[in-house]
Amino acid sequence: MDFLAEQLPIVVQQLIAGLAYGCIYGLVALGYNFIWNAVGIVNLAQGDFVMVGGYLYAASFVPVVASWLGPGSAGSSFWTALLLTAVGMVLVGMVSQRIVYYPLRASHPRTIMISTMALSIFLKNFAIVAWGTYPVATSGLFGQKWFRFDLFGLGTVTVLYQYVFILVFTAILLVVQSAFFSRTRLGRSMRAVAQDQLAASLMGINTPLIIAITFAYASILAGVAGVLLAPIFLVSQAMGSIGLKAYTASIVGGFGNVIGALVGGLLVGSIEVLSASYVSSVYKDAIVFVVLIAFLLLRPQGLFGKKVIGSL
């Protein structure tokens, strides 16, 4: 029991980190799901959108905005740069779908997957041209600042402010998102298209536009994930690997399911962080993929998915 009591603060500390990473995966997984529901394809460049978002924020907008606003404006430059990044991601999402999805919309999904793969390669190499090969560091709102608290007298837990910020920010984003989908006309149109494209277009919804907006929204989510991650995970091409973890999260949660994406993300993030410290740090990613394969073999519909997958 002593051992457990000793370990508890450490586990709590790591769980908080795991949940923060999980939120990031969840946001990107949501993007996969929205696109999947709308057009039945998986955008393999989604992870690279995270990277583009991170670079746009850390390497492009933060320096520019900071020079506009002058010193001592960390807070307002963060929010301004975040907003600009979101706008930039709308552009990235719209242009990407126009080039790699729209012309192929009637082709076999495999062809579209290959074209998003080519987009992924393009984006990685474009990032080299645009932002160089060195990782970019940025401080965000809190930098590497952390705080401590005492856990029921068992020990001290040390947590980065950024982790807490990620949790809070994601929670607020999800509330806003759910209001958007249920209250606004655009949100309802997006849901209608996701449910049944044909019926939606018969009801007079401009389906191609809504699909483009869905892509744009998915890339905003990826971009925001990049911004949130930037202060704790140097911005580099390696950020694209988030895409795979997020894909895992969406499968674990149940592909196409909104709550599933988030729960899957939290689960993947926790598994990753805990296995890094209790199993093996070099094999943490391998463990995540083993979990993924186990899910696909034993429960392919995921935690929240419908039973029938059909001919995906």
Partner: protein, 328 residues
């Protein structure tokens, strides 16, 4: 059997092999000669991928893992175990064939993107093992001092003879792939690709056929992996990545899905494309990605489709000229 009785695909295959044979001495730059050799090794892998991706239509994204296990099985067999060269190649074939079997089983149930993500995960697991199981794989340092082959009195240590050996292996394996494609297995693979339910209704076992396709792909990847190791004479884990798997899949798609000549054209040309674009300096890989997107989106039949149309166009042009001459 005269040349006229061969199909257009077969003629093109023979033509490609002959062009590749003639190309080597024509290239003067020794670096470019090496790139051409890499292109041949890529073609070996892509012809293997053709069985799964092209014929059976399964999204196999762990090609780099197959290829890496082939390289390592060969490298470890000839260095650690001091096995003879060709026994090492055989070990690579067996190792990757077994890996194909292991990966083939999950495909019992998984389709489409689910299969894609499974193979991606599988590939990453293999890559991490190659990277981190240092006592066996040598970790980040890889395995050095790998030999080039000999066959009896013939030495293939120098690049030129080794190139022609690689080309001969490619020709042989392409012939084998062509034979399988034209046999009952080729038709059965394509039937599974078209409609699994209907395939079962005419007595085909889709699972067995898919596993077979994975194993065949594994055999090619084993040979390709061993040849790559022998070409480089040194291997390290950082090349066997997801990006490489994607690259190989794209070579097949750009070449023209489901056609062997396209697979080889795509492999060689896409291996060269980045080198040709080097004058663009830092832009070259981004432009490469853009070119790939443009071909996939606007020329979905790939290089093979372009080639077919070009030859048809030339044929009608020649015919028209012949007709006018006949009229005059």
């Amino acid at each position: 059997m005269g040349i006229r009785s061969l199909s257009m695909k077969d003629k093109t295959l023979i033509g490609i092999i002959l062009v590749l044979a003639a190309l080597y001495p024509l290239i003067t730059n020794s670096y470019m000669k090496f790139v051409l050799m890499t292109g041949i090794v890529n073609a070996l892998l892509v012809v293997g991928l053709h069985f799964i991706f092209g014929l059976t239509g399964q999204l196999h994204m762990a090609m780099a893992a197959f290829w890496g296990v082939g390289s390592y099985a060969f490298a470890l067999a000839v260095t650690r175990l001091s096995w003879p060269y060709w026994l090492g190649v055989f070990a690579a074939i067996v190792a990757v064939g077994l890996l194909g079997l292991l990966l083939g089983f999950p495909t019992l149930r998984l389709k489409g993107f689910y299969l894609a993500i499974t193979t991606i995960g599988f590939g990453e697991i293999v890559r991490l093992i190659l990277l981190n199981w240092a006592p066996v794989t040598g970790g980040v340092f890889g395995v050095a001092g790998l030999p080039r082959p000999t066959i009896g009195p013939l030495q293939f240590g120098k690049n030129q003879p080794f190139y022609y050996l690689l080309l001969a292996i490619l020709a042989l394996l392409t012939l084998a792939a062509r034979m399988i494609e034209h046999s009952k297995y080729g038709a059965a693979f394509r039937a599974v690709h078209d409609d699994e339910l209907a395939a079962e209704a005419v007595g085909l076992d889709p699972t067995r056929l898919k596993i077979l396709a994975f194993v065949l792909c594994g055999v090619y990847a084993g040979i390709g992996g061993a040849m790559y190791a022998s070409l480089m004479q040194y291997i390290s884990p950082e090349v066997y990545t997801l990006e490489r798997s994607q690259m190989l899949a794209m070579m097949l798609v750009i070449g023209g899905m489901g056609s062997l000549p396209g697979a080889i054209m795509g492999s060689v040309l896409l291996t060269f494309l980045p080198e040709v674009l080097r004058f663009l300096q830092q832009w070259y890989l981004a432009v490469y990605g853009a070119i790939v997107i443009v071909i996939i989106v606007y020329r979905p039949t790939g290089l093979w489709g372009i080639w077919v149309r070009a030859t048809e166009w030339i044929a009608t042009l020649l015919k028209r000229r012949g007709d006018t001459r006949g009229a005059a």
